[in-house]
Symmetry: C2
Subunit: 425 residues, 2 copies
């Protein structure tokens, strides 16, 4: 894989820790002030099994006792940076190896979230984001994350449908593959897809769900995506599956889906795209849906969300998902309320995303040598932190996962109950 | 029943139509202007099978053809009033008999809702109500509606649990009694009530649900209600059922539920009370729930709602439910967002309320002579219109019925899926 692929990540690779004794000596002995900062940092972590050591401890000696985690801060500037803005700087320092974590990274992140929780940030006081990326912003943002290489994602996503969104562990013993299939059935059942119906999808990913719907529910799908690499992959896949007559992948922004002569669709579906839309564009999205679906049409939006408005973690926004924003249910109502759409069903499956991410992280680690070969150690650490941090964000309820089913206000052909979603297939 | 009970309804009983020929003559012959107004009114009803006649047609001759409805407007002032503000005046004029409807009232109301829909009122432009009744307001409002006599409600509510809230027709062939039992099971299953748990209920009604939970799920219930007649009825009922050790009915405002020494509850539940709380009080309600439930606590709010903010129908607000306000989901988020509560599940069962109201209206008509004897014809007509109008409001999506299940943000003992709600008992 081309090394230029790494560029979008942009983590500074210089400034690696001084690992040899002479270089350590050049850093100087930690002062009383340095030790005081360490005590401030550790006191914030409560009684978590975390030990923090500084650059005077050689990396090979910074090993944790059983069940504990040792964090080694490799230089004074790193120490100051993590004190000033841990949310933003920890990620880069960890990625660059200037902060090392020996022991279970999840234990450290768990303690960090407990600390954040306990601090009681009055997140609901913050103004909701009016983030409204335009077509060019979106194109750039999506390219940053999704175009870093299909081969990379294939190393750790489920092998059957390449779903880079929350799975549904209908039964907790499911494999990742089974849980992703279950997620796609869950969404299709909520939408009650019928053979021959027309479905429009906003955000195709690598095409797995569009092809799944066509194959398993006999619908015709038109699916929009602005990630060039993903669309190419999806089109190839449709050919291999012999589904090019049922599924069309359009390399364009979903905002261009309603042409003058565009057909009306029986269902609108979007899995894991709303995070990239921005609250300032929600009303326009709802207006688009209103123009896209038939009077009997219905829709489902599956998205990461929040219990109260809060910007995305600063480091994730800078390095991993620029411009992403997980909305609250209140913010999502901008899609429905002004556009005559009626919410039928909201399900929050937050803990399923923690499970999904655990499975991804396990496979990522199993394939870490291949990832390192594709990119480098900085990339490996950044993605490890992103996956592990996301697990803990879902475990601690900093992030939610909402599936919102809707139809037009006053349309009476809606399901009488939700029992059909839970009937044995 | 004491006739003074009628007073809260306050419909003017004077001004009945002139039914004898001499009185009709005194009203004068309808003019060309009168006829023009009639044409304006009927044109608004599209091609609905509605005929409007005026006071020159004797009541006994104002009979509709098969499948049609004849509306007889009994005097010129009634005609002007219904032209100026049909939403407010039609109810009083119909109740007083100054407007008569011969044929199916539902057909007329259906046409009225179609007309309202077609007018495309941009309801989402309206500001949401900041309605915030205080304790005294609430006491007065609740007295107006719920204290008009238990015997009256017993004539047409379900006979087993006296539920004056939306039933759940798990199977459309259910009787009203079965559907109310199913509603109570549905709510209890969503809350996963366990024997020995402590439940707090805001709004008892006549006590049916509190007693149901104690009997069927083995929980201890403390239930708040400010309707004196309802609390007395509930306490008697608890005695008859031998459940006074499991269920306590408190005649007080739910806002007084959290005393200094009050216990923590495993579950908070409120069925059909939020309509009387007022959006301006939602944040305080959520704060109260936060103080009432344990860290592992969960809650469910069942309420009439809206797809976009709109005040209650003016006539219903004036004559039937003063101070009532059905919120949007966005408005409901004031309960959860500022108070660290996480929405797990929202279900909209709007059409079940239309079914429930149909069953109520049928039983009301079966017992209409008894109702007339308790009150008078004005009361009968007002309640007929209220029940029939509510059916059409739910059928046309002007009203929704939301069940919102929640727990604390970050609490991980929540159900893994919703399948348990749909398992056979």
């Amino acid at each position: 894989m081309n090394r230029s692929r790494l560029e979008p990540l942009g983590v500074p690779t210089s400034g690696y820790p001084a690992d040899s004794a002479p270089e350590r000596a050049a850093l100087g002995v930690p002062t009383a002030a340095d030790r005081w900062i360490v005590r401030q940092l550790t006191s914030r972590l409560g009684d978590a099994p975390i030990d923090v050591v500084l650059w005077d401890v050689p990396p090979e000696k910074a090993q944790p006792a059983e069940g504990r985690v040792t964090v080694r801060i490799g230089d004074r500037r790193a120490l100051f940076q993590v004190l000033v803005n841990p949310e933003l700087h920890f990620g880069d320092l960890y990625s660059a190896g200037r902060i090392q974590v020996n022991g279970d990274l999840l234990t450290l992140l768990d303690a960090a979230y407990r600390y954040l929780d306990a601090r009681g940030v009055p997140g609901w006081l913050r103004r909701g984001s009016r983030l409204a990326p335009d077509l060019a912003d979106s194109k750039r943002n999506i390219h940053h994350h999704y175009d870093i290489g299909n081969e990379f994602y294939e190393l750790w996503l489920d092998r059957e449908a390449l779903q880079y969104t929350c799975a549904y562990y209908a039964d907790p013993s499911m494999t990742l593959e089974q849980a992703q299939q279950a997620k796609m059935h869950h969404v299709s059942r909520k939408l009650r897809l019928q053979p021959g119906e027309r479905v429009i999808e906003a955000g195709s990913g690598w095409g797995g769900f569009a092809l799944f719907m066509a194959k398993n529910y006999g619908v015709n799908v038109r699916s929009f995506n602005i990630s060039h690499e993903q669309v190419e992959h999806a089109r190839e896949w449709a050919k291999r599956e012999g589904l090019t007559d049922k599924v069309e992948f359009v390399e364009d922004d979903y905002r261009n889906a309603a042409g003058a002569k565009s057909p009306r669709y029986d269902a609108f579906v979007s899995i894991g795209m709303l995070e990239h839309v921005g609250p300032g564009n929600y009303r326009a999205l709802g207006n688009l849906i209103d123009r896209l679906i038939t009077p009997e049409g219905r829709g489902l939006i599956h998205t990461i969300g929040r219990d109260w408005p809060e910007p995305l973690n600063a480091w994730i926004d800078k390095r991993i998902f620029p411009g992403a924003y997980p909305p609250t249910l209140r913010q999502m109502m901008d899609i429905f309320e002004p556009n005559g759409l009626s919410v039928l069903d909201v399900e929050n499956i937050r803990l399923h995303y923690a499970e999904t991410l655990r499975a991804w992280l396990d496979r990522f680690e199993e394939n870490v040598d291949a990832v390192r070969k594709m990119f480098d150690e900085t990339f490996v650490r950044a993605w490890r932190l992103y996956l592990a941090g996301s697990i803990m964000a879902f475990v601690h309820g900093k992030l939610q996962l909402f599936q919102v089913l809707f139809a037009r206000t006053g349309y009476n052909g809606v399901p009488w109950t939700r029992a059909h979603v839970y009937e044995k297939a």
